[in-house]
């Protein structure tokens, strides 16, 4: 199959990607090519695509192993006669452990399984968070799955299902964690096994858990439900440590107070004061002086909804749905919220419509009503420019509420 004819490299254009002082996927695939014909053909097909400026991969069809509707991404090339070793080149998503903790033994085990059943190429990790096993044939899917499950691994999500939930390293190694991201991620994964393996939604749904607003797993941009740790009391300050930073040359006035987005900090050369009511939890000051400042102790998370990359429509960040939620086992509140959202979306969503898109289509007000969440000021990203207010509707709603309260004789706040 080689196109060299003894005249040098079969992949001159790809070889360009081996130059420079950084890792190269070409070099890595070449290493495997010595052992696996698949890898050699993969390189040659990619070289051909670069030359012709035509992609040769088809997508779709097969999706999983027996009983599953996700976890396998079917790949076929459209030149199977010329590239028979990669006529099928399916990808497996394997659910990673929360926070990506492994023993080296288990990593070797995964590699051994994949050497035996697939191309040997892995991607640790894909931007979905999963362990990505790249390239195998349909025949090898069940045996691979069997070997994985025998070692306590399971497939992740793909297609119109709950995608593999993912979490930052959180309290395992990070002092900023405002809730146990690893535990929540694992709990959501276990609780929603059915939704993960049996796609029943209009489109995909991803949970991402970040322990603090630094949002190391980019949940605000890359997940339908972003669960971002925060606190509602005061930033903890060690004034001696602040002074130490100052003595060591940190310009607190300019670089800490001056860069606070809400200008809610003051430094008089001796004490640092924070007007916590105006702090928007941006993490800037804490990141800049980690020895002196820490998040508060009344911690939980902000729940946001609706981020997505541009596929059907443009890119979008998540919007606040619940400004503060305590997150402790058994996490019923967030699970109930997710299920209410899925109910409305499954009932009313168009094919391939993400949660963020249906929110925009029906309007935030209607959406919140449908999922049983009260609108509050924290949901406003920025005030609108015109003062257009539906006074009438306002009064009607209040009247209705008053009536209802009377009926129920409720003294609930």
């Amino acid at each position: 199959m080689s196109e060299t004819n003894g005249k040098g490299s079969a992949t001159p254009m790809l070889d360009e990607l081996e130059k420079g002082e950084w890792p190269s996927f070409v070099t890595q695939i070449k290493e495997m090519a010595a052992e696996k014909e698949q890898c050699q053909q993969l390189l040659e097909l990619l070289e051909r695509s670069y030359r012709e400026k035509i992609g040769h991969w088809k997508h779709g069809g097969i999706v999983g192993v027996h009983g599953y509707g996700g976890g396998v991404i079917g790949r076929y090339n459209d030149l199977p006669e010329e590239f028979p070793a990669i006529a099928h080149f399916h990808t497996l998503r394997v659910n990673m452990p929360s926070g990506w903790f492994y023993t080296s033994d288990v990593l070797r085990k995964i590699c051994d399984i994949w050497d035996e059943h697939g191309s040997g190429l892995t991607n640790m990790h894909g931007s979905t968070g999963d362990i990505i096993l790249l390239g195998t044939t349909t025949d090898e899917l069940e045996p691979t799955f069997k070997a994985l499950t025998e070692n306590d691994f399971d497939l992740g999500g793909s297609g119109s299902d709950v995608r593999t939930p993912s979490a930052c390293v959180g309290p395992a190694r990070c002092e900023w964690a405002c809730y146990d991201t690893l535990d929540l991620c694992n709990d959501l994964t276990q609780t929603f096994q059915d939704e993960l393996h049996r796609p029943a939604f209009p489109y995909k749904f991803k949970f991402k858990c970040s322990g603090c607003p630094n949002d190391c797993v980019a949940s605000i941009a890359r997940s339908d439900m972003s669960i971002i740790g925060t606190w509602r009391d005061d930033i903890r300050i060690d004034q001696d440590a602040v002074r130490e930073y100052a003595e060591n040359g940190v310009n607190i006035e300019r670089d800490i107070c001056g860069n606070c987005p809400t200008k809610c900090m003051e430094w008089d050369g001796h004490d640092l004061e924070i007007d916590n009511g105006n702090c928007v939890k941006c993490m800037h000051c804490i990141n800049a002086m980690p020895k002196a400042l820490r998040p508060g102790v009344d911690t939980g998370a902000t729940i946001l909804l609706g981020a997505k990359a541009p596929i059907v429509q443009g890119a979008q960040l998540s919007s606040v749905i619940v400004p503060f939620m305590k997150l402790e086992p058994p996490y019923d509140e967030i699970k109930d919220l997710a299920e209410r959202i899925w109910d409305f979306w499954s009932e009313n969503g168009k094919n391939r419509e993400r949660v963020g898109e249906i929110m925009q289509r029906v309007g935030m007000g209607n959406f919140l009503e449908a999922i049983g969440v009260d609108p509050i000021p924290e949901m406003i990203a920025y005030p609108r420019e015109n003062p257009y207010v539906f006074y009438e509707e306002y009064y009607e709603e209040e009247d209705e509420e008053a009536e209802q309260e009377e009926e129920e004789g409720a003294a609930v706040p």
Partner: protein, 83 residues
């Protein structure tokens, strides 16, 4: 009308068969069609979920992916052939 999950599974199977090659059905489509046929009282979402699971686990139907997830009769792999 009171129905069992197995009856719902059979009815779903007939629909998938009827639509095969004409229109791809999603889990949600099948659920809507069943609730319409049997009424929300006799056949709720939970029962439809159980019915779909039984269809898949018994190999009568398979999941497929074409830009979204569908439920179809088992057949030669979609993208393996021509299109």
């Amino acid at each position: 009308m009171a129905v069992t999950a197995e009856q719902v599974a059979d009815a779903m199977y007939d629909l998938v068969k009827e639509y095969q090659g004409k229109k791809k059905l999603k889990a949600m489509d099948l659920t809507h069609m069943m609730v319409e046929r049997y009424g929300a009282e006799g056949c709720d979402k939970k029962m439809c979920k159980a019915a779909i699971r039984s269809l898949i686990d018994s190999d009568r139907c398979v999941y497929t992916y074409f830009g979204g997830s569908y439920i179809e009769l088992p057949h030669a792999e979609g993208a393996a052939g021509g299109g």
